[in-house]
Symmetry: C2
Subunit: 330 residues, 2 copies
């Protein structure tokens, strides 16, 4: 049917009252690339800003097959049962290419998606990592204004998506499986150093013993890595997301993390530096978009790049030439 | 005295004949920020490009006190005695701030600096990391054209200088001291994952046994990290740069690295991708310089940043406003 055109006041009030239909509509505006929608989205954000920031923002990544969806469903349900309100978002810069989207298949989180205390939003489709970054951050703010006090942000682990999610959350958890040695083959470089918690999933049945061994191994390894968060020693824990075992212990550790980092001021310091970094990364994205989408630059770049790689032109000269093309504004 | 104004032909010929005075003069042009000098430097590079690329490019970093200068002097002298010609360069983005420059105090490499088969050039002073990056890369090309077949690039380890050096070398070595556990406190995050060789220095006298233990410890740790170079397992070795012990073994390993990576094609692939990355990083640097040095942007940025951090303005809106200021070209 025809969509009702909500007024700015209606949307803001709806979000603050946690009207899920209006919240979803506001997120759609945030996800749109149309200038008219962007403008309206910014007006909404302007109004709801005072009501944001009061959640614990948790990023979750994992090696392939680690069971991220099952874990998020288990943790989300556990938290809802404890009286929390949980929003589940996703960063998936690949969804524009593959057409698929994580969390898009909601049946993967059937139980949680039926829970009225939870709000699940698939990854925005289309656009660059920078675009997904902005959309996810702004969606997070809308969810906070709607009263969700735990935000779980899943990353599919493509490209730089872990770094992007790390840059928008307070706590970052890495889901792994047993057998740290082999495991590391499938783990992206540097990901372990982003994690505040390493969670060895599928610690059940025959696998429980092996999971305990893996946990100890990870606890040894992280000792050699610099901590992801100042003043917090990264810890490995086990759980069985499928049997919902060990989730309480993980939540306890997450709360310890929040308590410690708030007491030391690291939590607040990170939030402030994250927002500054966001400004700078948006500026950089925008500058690069403008440059590399400039028709004249686009036209000459492939040949210039080839000449440089083949040693027929020095880099500085090539870059100077590209900027001469760029300054020729249409 | 008055500097002779060499012609382009004289400079190019001088470099190719390894006239050290002319090589130094060409490097001075490359290091200059004056448009006239930049233009002349690019003409020189254009001409010498066919004679570049035939060296092994080695980056060397180290934790504070690890003895980088002593090691470079020992390795450099060893290589000169084997008939190699060695150029020693440095990346030190801090030298513009502190006034000091690594390798500036040549007495630290007294022996090597007297060797006619070696060429030592202090870090260019002034400018951004991007500027230092360009200058060091172009100096490296000039040295290669002058026939230096091993280039050693020292990094002082400030800011992102290790990443920058890693991006311009074939092999990256990390110098450490005994006691990996404590050691890691002084080691920058992620640096170990950049290294192809970890060299435990000061393996002499009472310290030799401890150095062996540290070496074994590092060999265990690197097993848990993803290799810095595809198909090459990072190795830890010991040496005593002061007593020139173990340098032969390190050079052997460096040659193994070169042989292996050339056989697999990883060497060539990295060189090609490094030059592409250089183009893109120069473009990004230039775009950011232009933006953040724009008078109107400079004027409003501090206040805008403050408003955003304090939650009084949404990020996207702030960035849009900054771009409106930027588009107001003077």
């Amino acid at each position: 049917g025809a969509r009702k055109g909500y007024s700015l006041d209606e949307i803001v009030d709806g979000i603050l009252k946690n009207d899920r239909v209006i919240l979803a509509r506001a997120i759609t505006l945030v996800e749109s690339n149309a200038p008219k929608h962007i403008e309206k989205a910014q007006q909404i954000l302007n109004r709801i800003l005072p009501y944001t920031g009061n959640s614990l923002r948790i990023g979750i990544t994992g090696v392939p097959g680690a069971g991220k969806s099952t874990f998020i469903e288990a943790l989300g349900s556990f938290l809802c049962n404890k009286g929390h309100r949980v929003a589940v978002l996703a960063v998936d810069p690949s969804s524009s290419i593959t057409g698929g989207s994580i969390l898009g298949d909601k049946t993967r989180m059937e139980k949680l998606s039926r829970d009225k205390r939870a709000f699940i939003r698939p990854s925005p489709s289309g656009g660059t990592l920078g675009g997904v970054n902005r959309k996810t951050r702004e969606t997070m703010l809308l969810c906070e204004a709607a009263g969700y006090d735990v935000i779980l942000i899943e990353t599919i682990g493509v490209g730089q998506s872990e770094v992007v999610v790390r840059s928008m959350v307070d706590l970052f958890a890495l889901l792994v499986l047993t057998g740290a040695g082999d495991e590391l083959q499938g783990m992206k470089k540097g990901v372990m150093e982003l994690a505040d918690l390493i969670i060895v999933n599928k610690a059940d049945g025959d696998n429980e013993q092996k999971a305990m061994v893996a946990k100890d191994e990870y606890n040894r390894i992280v000792h050699y890595l610099r901590p992801a968060t100042e003043g917090w020693q990264t810890k490995a824990l086990t759980c069985s997301a499928y049997y919902e075992k060990g989730i309480d212990r993980i939540w306890e550790e997450m709360q310890n993390f929040e308590k410690n980092t708030k007491a030391s001021g690291v939590f607040q310091k990170r939030r402030a530096s994250q927002i500054k970094d966001w400004i700078y990364s948006m500026i950089k994205d925008e500058l690069e978009q403008k440059f590399f989408n400039h028709p004249q630059v686009k036209k000459v770049l492939p040949e210039i790049e080839k000449e440089v790689v083949e040693g027929r032109q020095p880099v500085t000269q090539a870059v100077q030439y590209l900027f001469e093309q760029y300054e020729k504004r249409e």
